[in-house]
C-alpha cells in the first residue's frame, strides 16, 4: 500500500497519514499483525519530520488501532479493534455537525446528505476489493 501526502493541503500532514492508515485497515490492505515501517524509515521515505510520523503512530496507538512490539516494531492491532465507543460517537457527531449545517444552509436535503455519507463509506470499503 502507498501513502500519498499533499504537503500544501490545508489538512495537517499527520492527519493525512492517520486517515490513510485507517483507510488501509478499513479496506483490508492493512490486516491485523501487518508490520508498519519504523518512524525514522517512513519519515525518510516521505521526506517529512520524524515527529509528524511519530504523532500519527501515537494517535493510532492510543486509540488501539496499532500495537508497538519491542521486537517487531509497529504492527496493526492483532487483538480486538477499539470498537464503537461513546467517545468515538461523540467525535463523529461533532465532525458531522459542521458538514450537516453547511449542507442544510446550501439547501441539501436530509436524504441527499445521508446518501453522500453511505457513498463515501462504501467507497472506502470497496477500494480494497479493486486491488
Amino acid at each position: 500500500m502507498f501513502i500519498e501526502l499533499d504537503l500544501q493541503s490545508e489538512v495537517p500532514i499527520y492527519t493525512q497519514l492517520v486517515e490513510q492508515l485507517l483507510e488501509g485497515m478499513a479496506n483490508g490492505q492493512l490486516k491485523p499483525g501487518d508490520p508498519l515501517p519504523s518512524v525514522r524509515s517512513l519519515a525518510a521515505d516521505l521526506g517529512i519530520n520524524l515527529h509528524t510520523v511519530n504523532k500519527a503512530y501515537q494517535v493510532l496507538k492510543q486509540d488501539g488501532f496499532l500495537q508497538v512490539h519491542r521486537k517487531q516494531g509497529v504492527v496493526i492491532q492483532t487483538g480486538e479493534m477499539p470498537g464503537i465507543t461513546t467517545e468515538f460517537q461523540e467525535k463523529l457527531a461533532r465532525q458531522l455537525k459542521g458538514m450537516a449545517a453547511e449542507a442544510a444552509v446550501r439547501g441539501m436535503q436530509e436524504i441527499e446528505f445521508a446518501d453522500m455519507c453511505s457513498a463515501v463509506y462504501r467507497q472506502i470499503k470497496e477500494q480494497g476489493a479493486d486491488r
Binding site: 502507498f2 500519498e4 504537503l7 525518510a44 519530520n49 520524524l50
Partner: protein, 363 residues
C-alpha cells in the same frame, strides 16, 4: 612491441579513458540537470543548453591534450619516471575537470537567471508501506566469499612463512628489472590482507547503504517507479559483489607473486585480465540499466536546486533521510545536512589512510 612502448601505450590508453569518462559526464547524466542546475522540460533541447554541453566536451579535450603535451615535454627537465608521469596526469585530470565543471556551472546559472528556469512545484510525496528493503539487495552473507578468499591467502602465507624470502621485490622498472625491495616482516607480508578486509567492509557498507536508502518514488507513477527502483538496487548490489570479489582476488595474486616469487607472467596476465573483467562488469551493468531504463530520474529531489550545494552535494537538514538518490540519476549519495554523513565520509577517507600508513610503517 618493446616493453617501453607497452608502458607508454598503457599511459596513453588510461589517460584517454579518463578524459572520455570526465568529458562525457554531462551527456551520461540526467538530461534535466545541466552542470548542477535544473532545466525545465521545454528548455532542454534549446541550442544554448546543448552547446554548453558540447563546449564542455571540446574544452575538456583541448585542455587535456595541452596538459599532457606539457607534462610529457617537461619529463626530461624534471627527470620524471613513467609512473610519475601517470600520477601527475591523473592528478591534473582530477583538478582540471572539477574546475571546468564550476566554470560551466556559472554559465548554466546565468542561463537560469536569463530564462528564469524554475522547477515545477511538487508538493506530493509518496512512499510504500511495504517496500521490501531486505530483498532489494543481495544478503550480507554473500560477502563471506571475498572474506574467505582473504582468509585463504592470509592463512597460506602464515603456514608457508618459512618459505618466504627474507627480501621481497615490491617494484619492477619499465624494463622488468627489480628496483624496489622491502624486508620480510608481518607488515610487508600481511598488509595485503588488511587492505582486502578493509575493502570487503567498504563493499558491505555500500550494500547496506543501497538497502537503507530513501525510496524516492515518482508521485505520478508510484507502482512502476517502485518496481524499477527495486530492480536497479538489485542489479547494482550484484555488480558490486562481482567487482569486490575480483578485486579481492587480484590483491591476493599481487601478494602471492611478491611473497612466493611467482613467475612474472602470472602477475602480468592477472594485470591484463582484472581490468578487462572489471570493465566487462561495468559495461554490462551500464548497458543493462540503460536498456531497461532503470534510472531514478523521476525522483522529485533531483529538481530542487537549493538542496544541492555546488550542484552535486545534497544538503537538506529537514530531510531525515541519510542516503538519497544521486543527482545524476544513478546511484546514491549522502545527505550532508545530517551530521552522521560527515562522520561516514571522514571514516571512508580515514580508514584506507590508516591501513596505508600501517602498511608503510611496518614494512
Amino acid at each position: 612491441m618493446s616493453q617501453l612502448d607497452w608502458s607508454f601505450a598503457t599511459i596513453v590508453f588510461t589517460y584517454c579513458v579518463l578524459v572520455l569518462i570526465f568529458s562525457l559526464q554531462p551527456y551520461i547524466n540526467a538530461k534535466m540537470v545541466l552542470f548542477g542546475v535544473y532545466v525545465p522540460e521545454e528548455n532542454r533541447s534549446r541550442l544554448e543548453v546543448r552547446s554548453l554541453r558540447k563546449r564542455f566536451l571540446i574544452t575538456g579535450w583541448i585542455a587535456s591534450i595541452v596538459v599532457a603535451a606539457i607534462v610529457v615535454s617537461c619529463r626530461h627537465v624534471l627527470n620524471l619516471e613513467r609512473n610519475e608521469i601517470m600520477l601527475i596526469l591523473i592528478a591534473v585530470q582530477l583538478l582540471l575537470f572539477p574546475l571546468l565543471y564550476l566554470q560551466f556551472r556559472g554559465n548554466a546559472l546565468r542561463l537560469k537567471r536569463e530564462q528564469s528556469w524554475q522547477a515545477p512545484v511538487n508538493s506530493r510525496r509518496v512512499a510504500s508501506l511495504s517496500f521490501p528493503r531486505r530483498k532489494s539487495t543481495i544478503g550480507n552473507v554473500w560477502f563471506i566469499i571475498p572474506l574467505l578468499i582473504t582468509g585463504i591467502f592470509a592463512v597460506t602465507a602464515a603456514i608457508r612463512w618459512d618459505e618466504i624470502p627474507s627480501t621481497l621485490v615490491t617494484h619492477y622498472d619499465a624494463n622488468g628489472i627489480a628496483d624496489g625491495f622491502s624486508n620480510k616482516d608481518f607488515g610487508s607480508v600481511f598488509q595485503f590482507n588488511f587492505i582486502q578486509v578493509g575493502l570487503v567492509l567498504l563493499f558491505l557498507f555500500t550494500n547496506f547503504s543501497i538497502r537503507s536508502s530513501k525510496q524516492s518514488l515518482d508521485p505520478n507513477n508510484p507502482e512502476q517507479s517502485m518496481i524499477k527502483q527495486l530492480r536497479f538496487r538489485k542489479i547494482t548490489s550484484i555488480s558490486l559483489f562481482g567487482l569486490s570479489t575480483f578485486i579481492i582476488f587480484f590483491i591476493g595474486i599481487i601478494q602471492g607473486s611478491i611473497i612466493y616469487d611467482w613467475p612474472k607472467s602470472t602477475i602480468i596476465s592477472a594485470a591484463i585480465a582484472l581490468p578487462s573483467i572489471l570493465l566487462a562488469i561495468i559495461v554490462a551493468f551500464s548497458v543493462y540499466i540503460s536498456r531497461q531504463k532503470l534510472d531514478q530520474h523521476s525522483d522529485p529531489i533531483i529538481k530542487e536546486d537549493r538542496y544541492w550545494k555546488a550542484g552535486a552535494f545534497y544538503y537538506n537538514p529537514e530531510d531525515p533521510a541519510l542516503f538519497v538518490s544521486k543527482r545524476t540519476g544513478f546511484g546514491w549519495t549522502l545527505n550532508y545536512g545530517r551530521p552522521l554523513s560527515w562522520v561516514v565520509s571522514i571514516g571512508i577517507l580515514v580508514i584506507p589512510l590508516v591501513i596505508l600508513i600501517f602498511g608503510v610503517t611496518h614494512s
